[in-house]
Amino acid sequence: MISEQLVDLSRLQFAATAMYHFLFVPLTIGMVWLLVIMESVYVMTGNVIWKDMTRFWGKLFGINFALGVTTGITLEFQFGTNWAYYSHYVGDIFGAPLAIEGLMAFFLESTFIGLFFFGWDRLSKTQHLMVTTLMAVGTNLSALWILIANGWMQNPVGAEFSYQTMRMEMTDFWAVMFNPDAQAKFVHTVSAGYVTGAMFVLSISSWYLLKGRNIEFAKRSFRVAAAFGLASVLSVIVLGDESGYTVGEAQQTKMAALEAMWETEPAPAGLKLIAGINEAEQKNDWEVEVPWVMGLIGTRSISKEIPGIREIKEKNRERIINGIVAVVALETLRQHREDPVAKQVFERHKADLGFGLLLRKYTTDVRQATPEMIQKAVDSTVPRVTPMFWAFRVMVGLGFAMLLLFTLAFWSTLKTNCAQKPWLLKAALWMLPAPWLACELGWFVAEYGRQPWTIYGVLPTHLSVSTLSVGNLYGSLAGFIGFYTVLLVVEIYLMQKFARQGPGSLGTGRYSHEPVHHHTPAQA
């Protein structure tokens, strides 16, 4: 049997490297559009300050982008290195969006980012703007395809299990592509990226304004960031992927967990602001609730019920018991491919195959599953409530705080006095980490909330790993921690160095803090 330690370490490594990767991704996704906006103004007005803005923010963008590239390859490799059974079992579906992402998106963004940095003197203004725009399109398309892949993990549509090849196979690509879960996720995730980009520019511009440096440059940057940020934060909240929570059981389970809804409540359910969660007794000791709101958000109706945790678990118990039959029939078919009885039984029960496989965490022969094992499997089908409940609330709280900040910032730009409100500038500066924290929490809710599955209802996490030794995992985890710590220190050092120096680092002679010219013929 697969050791639990191996599964835990594989999960830890994936979670750590994925969350680390997502420190860089949202900034790339959002900032690239700010570059497009700034450069468009430059092309339209010919005012060189907008070109300097594009180039300076582009420089910081580049520092961030480098680590995005570095850490992104890890994730692609890791499906194969550490999640080999997953890769085999669902590669037929999951591999396709990843490969299309490479063909359609990565080539585009990566080819044009080179010209973005090196093409200023070799391209006409319009050509260069086209390059920047294609880079932005590529970046955002890559988010689309990766979220189609991720959406399929939450809501596996358009595919069917084949006992001959012992894997899921695609039956309908359009269903995979237009998976409502994936579409909701895409809008929510890229908008969160736009907010991150806007916050980054807003915070650093505020710092220049507080220091009284490069006022014209900073004011313009502040304005663009405030407007773009306000639109984006509204999009994150309004088009939040709450709308996806009605789709499929994975999302219903997540919603029950993150709302700490132990019992199915009569529609429309209330929204709990805070609660004292008692996991052991499966109830809340106390709660502060706003009536109706949850039902409205969760179901977009006032009459649909949202199932509670106990109800979900009882449904899953039936599926697990059904699943045992499916697993037994599958094992017979693997030995005798043409066994007609096994085929018939399998076809009838295969919808619950994944639930039967949950038991393989506790026994290699599911026929021998005891009632205690079944109970454990049933309990495992809903993630722990406390981390879900609080992670979600902090994320939403940060979202509303940012909405307030961007509203005030945008309002101040309309009154053209944005440089004159130190409290607002300070707030913008101190809010810098907020979007990153919100993004990481959002991914935590999405992925921890899907446990115990890698593919909801299809493939349990503990079966998905590669058959490696625990020693291998300790070794690679240590390597990642070492590399990633050094890289993060270097990145943050460079980022703050150039952010502090400001547009002077371009060496145009138009700004404060110009660098001294170092290159001397003696070095050649």
């Binding site: 194969g80 059974y85 590669g91 044009f112 070794g475 990145e491 170092h518 070095q523």
Partner: protein, 380 residues
């Protein structure tokens, strides 16, 4: 549109195309990284070398990423078995690649000579280690890899990391390293002038010679050195479902030579590998740098094609459970996915070639010391 058999064959070719594309595109900037500490003396010279690939390395690296993604989509069982079996080799490739994005982008951002020379060696590692490991991996594929499946098709690799580093595999590693060093040298000779160009020319021609000798040596070893190939001994239905346990496989001394016996025209591939490399060395010495680059690209087609033609239809043979060997017939995706991915590739690959060529055209011309000094703040 196409039947399953045709698509399986197309995908064998397409993976080959992606591999060759990777070796020609990412290979040349990896070769430049390998040569960097040796052809550039002093910071400005090294910056010249780095800036020949500065605008392009990122796009080139996508050949690698897309190659991985395409294998995931088209040959999921190969992706799963190879990546997890070669665990530490893959980690080494990955960690070596870490040095590239940060090496290229961060190196010039701080003046300190120690900082810059650290990243020079980082770029060397990022350029030299992956080709070496890919060659070693090919060397192991040719000998068979110890892995097997259970009833659930869970793969287990039963060897160790160290046994991957056997002498034949290391020789294959030399072929691959020398090949991409040669290729990077040809590119560098084309994009630089003066002393750097002379050093690149010398490095590229030496690497071409090493590549040819190691390539011939590996071929002779494979024929006469007691390495057995693999043959399928059961009837195989090329249109059948992808079930790797449905066939029987035996080892045979002739295994890797059967395709050459059946289709003698395939001997053109190794001939192209050798002739391309020698021609490239001659051309670069005659300052025909662009032709030299084309010739070394053809050499890459020849060398990779030679290995692929020998192994067909095997992709990853198993030494410990030969029947579990992965082939182009049974380690593939479903008919629908193969078809879909074929059309996606057919649509996007030409576009990629067009805009990549445009990017190289925009940045064409020699990179010079004077240019670097004039663009101190914007060049890498």
């Amino acid at each position: 549109m196409f039947d399953y058999e045709t698509l399986k064959l197309i995908w064998w070719l397409l993976v080959g195309v992606l591999l060759v594309g990777f070796a020609i595109m990412d290979g040349h900037d990896m070769g430049v990284g390998t040569l960097l500490p040796f052809v550039g003396r002093g910071d400005t010279e090294r910056r010249v070398v780095i800036n020949t690939v500065g605008p392009h390395w990122d796009g080139n690296q996508v050949w690698f990423i897309t190659g991985g993604g395409a294998i995931f989509a088209a040959w999921p069982l190969v992706y799963a078995t190879a990546f997890s079996g070669f665990y530490w080799a893959m980690m080494a490739v990955l960690w070596a690649l870490f040095f590239r994005p940060v090496g290229f982008d961060y190196r010039s951002k701080i003046q300190d000579p120690r900082w810059r020379s650290t990243w020079d060696w980082g770029l060397f590692i990022g350029g030299a280690v992956p080709p070496l490991i890919f060659g070693v991996a090919f060397g192991n594929l040719l000998q068979g890899v110890p892995f097997g499946f259970d009833d659930y098709l869970v793969s287990t690799y039963t060897g160790s990391f160290w046994q991957l580093l056997n002498p034949f595999a290391l020789l294959a590693g030399v072929v691959s390293s020398a090949m991409l060093t040669m290729h990077g040298g040809m590119y560098l000779a084309h994009r630089t002038e003066g002393v750097i160009q002379r050093r690149a020319t010398a490095g590229a021609s030496a690497a071409a010679l090493v590549m040819v000798l190691a390539f011939i040596g590996a071929g002779v070893w494979l024929r006469y050195g007691g390495i057995e190939g693999f043959v399928i001994t059961s009837v195989i239905d090329p249109n059948g479902l992808a079930d790797p346990m449905a066939k029987t496989v035996a080892r045979s001394a002739d295994g890797w030579w059967l395709n050459y016996a059946k289709a003698p025209l395939l001997w053109l591939l190794p001939a192209l590998g050798i002739a391309g490399a020698l021609l490239a060395a001659l051309l670069v010495r005659a300052r025909q740098t662009l032709s030299a680059f084309v010739a070394s690209s053809l050499a890459i087609v020849g060398v990779i094609g030679t290995a692929g033609a020998a192994m067909f239809p095997f992709v990853m043979p198993s030494s410990s459970m030969p029947n579990a060997s992965l082939t182009v017939w049974d380690a593939v995706s479903s008919h629908l996915t193969l078809g879909l991915m074929f059309w996606a590739t057919l649509i996007f690959m030409p576009l990629i070639v067009v805009y990549t060529s445009w990017a190289y055209r925009v940045m064409r011309g020699k990179v010079t010391v004077a240019q670097i000094q004039a663009n101190d703040h914007t060049a890498y």
